[in-house]
Amino acid sequence: MAERVLVKGTEAIGEAAIRAGCRLFFGYPITPQNELPEYMSKRMPEVGGTFLQTESEVATINMVYGAACTGTRVMTSTSSPGFSLMQEGISYMACAQLPAVLVNVVRGGPGLGDIQPSQGDYWQATKGGGHGDYKLIVLAPSTVQEAVDLTVLAFDLADKYRTPVVIIADGVIGQMMEPVTFPEFRNLNTLPKHDDWALTGANGREKHIVVSFDIDPHVLEKMNLEIVEKLRKIEANEKRWEEYKLEDAEIVITAFGTVGRIAKSVVEQARKEGIKAGLFRPITLWPFPYERLEEISKGKKLILDVEMNMGQMLEDVKLAVKDHARIEFYGRMGGVVPTPDEIFEALKKFLNV
């Protein structure tokens, strides 16, 4: 069995990307994810890859765009304000249907906000972010090991569906150390080559064109429909979530990422006091596992959504649960991480116990 090592979340994502066959990294510094580009700057030359620190996030995403046009595995990472700056390029990439992995280690916002852990970019990541009709696959790890596994998955999904994939983390996942086992290195020769569309030099073959533009509305609509069809496929095939102690649960906590793991403590605490609680943790924030959550919510006493924001995933929880159960929300903002105790207190308040 592979060795277990103690690593930081950001560095774990970097190493996982390299093992997944990523050899191109573009980035611009911003806390709390600087350890990731720092790691890449050291590691990429060791594996024959390229690390490039750009002059801005706008430059970064356009370099990622260019690299992705060649069908090569490429990644960038940033934090909230930087992710906002990248939205134009991300929208272009979504239209041009380009695979890439984008890491957003979310910090307190809006605006310059602060550098503490937050989940305030849920809407931005899952509802579009940039202009036009598109969605991105959004993966939310709650442990460092899961961050490793989802990074590898992100590259595979990006290639499979020709789409940017977002890994949404926060300062806790990014900064904490946990034991992980890394997967084996991918053989670069086995990675998808994208011979049918990538810009690899047209010598001896018909030219490929990668664009995010067409002046003719009917042609653009065709491109739109192609993207929509792809998104429907992703919705049908790629929903992922974790269920924790839901078999006999009367109360369901919904939470993702860091809060998703903190909520497990709350479930345990509640059960010790005779409250049958369980956890539903979406792993793909888009596509959101609506159907499964609806099924689970039927007959439940309470659905308590907990997030580090004003209630963003809450909207999807409401869409899923409909009127099957009472829904309440508890959240902290500004970069404050809720403790298990305060979530449990909130739960008891809603239950009047």
Partner: protein
């Protein structure tokens, strides 16, 4: 920070679930830099906590900030060389260790943290000394390998001081 990493690594070697969570905000730019370590037989749900069974205060600001976070019956370790005031809690175990003085006597002030780690291991038995040494050897490599011995010595002195 390093103290916490060595402890986490030692816990990992013993097959336990561990998390290490640092402060990375303004504290790191001058303030009560700290880390939270969880060593558990079960999966660690929350890497952050408002209460801890063991608190280590290496300086006065840390004592002031974190004394209240010790769970009743828990341990508060104080670096006596630097902290010249008394804790106010009476429902917890207080362990005072003159970390800097011991480190100084060993000829390397930088191992004051390892003195404290020795004291924590002695009192709490959270991990074994062997695992701590293993972690130290894993962590201090290359040019730092020459520092393993003085760190081990510091840990042993810390254990003695806490007995």
């Amino acid at each position: 920070m390093l103290m916490g990493q060595i402890l986490s690594l030692a816990g990992m070697f013993e097959g336990k679930h561990v998390t290490w969570m640092p402060s990375y905000g303004p504290e790191m730019r001058g303030g009560t830099a700290n880390c939270t370590v969880v060593v558990s037989d079960e999966e660690v749900a929350s890497p952050v906590t408002s209460q801890a069974e063991v608190i280590v205060a290496m300086n006065i600001p840390s004592l002031l900030k974190f004394e209240k976070a010790v769970t009743p019956g828990g341990y508060l370790f104080i670096n006596q060389s630097v902290v010249d005031r008394e804790p106010t809690r009476i429902d917890i175990n207080i362990v005072k260790v003159p970390c800097n003085d011991i480190a100084d006597a060993l000829g390397n002030l930088k191992v004051a943290n390892m003195v404290m780690l020795g004291a924590v291991v002695e009192k709490t038995k959270v991990v074994s000394l062997d695992s701590i040494f293993m972690a130290l050897e894993k962590k201090l490599t290359g040019g730092k390998a020459s520092l393993i011995e003085v760190n081990k010595e510091a840990i042993k002195k810390g254990m003695e001081a806490a007995k």
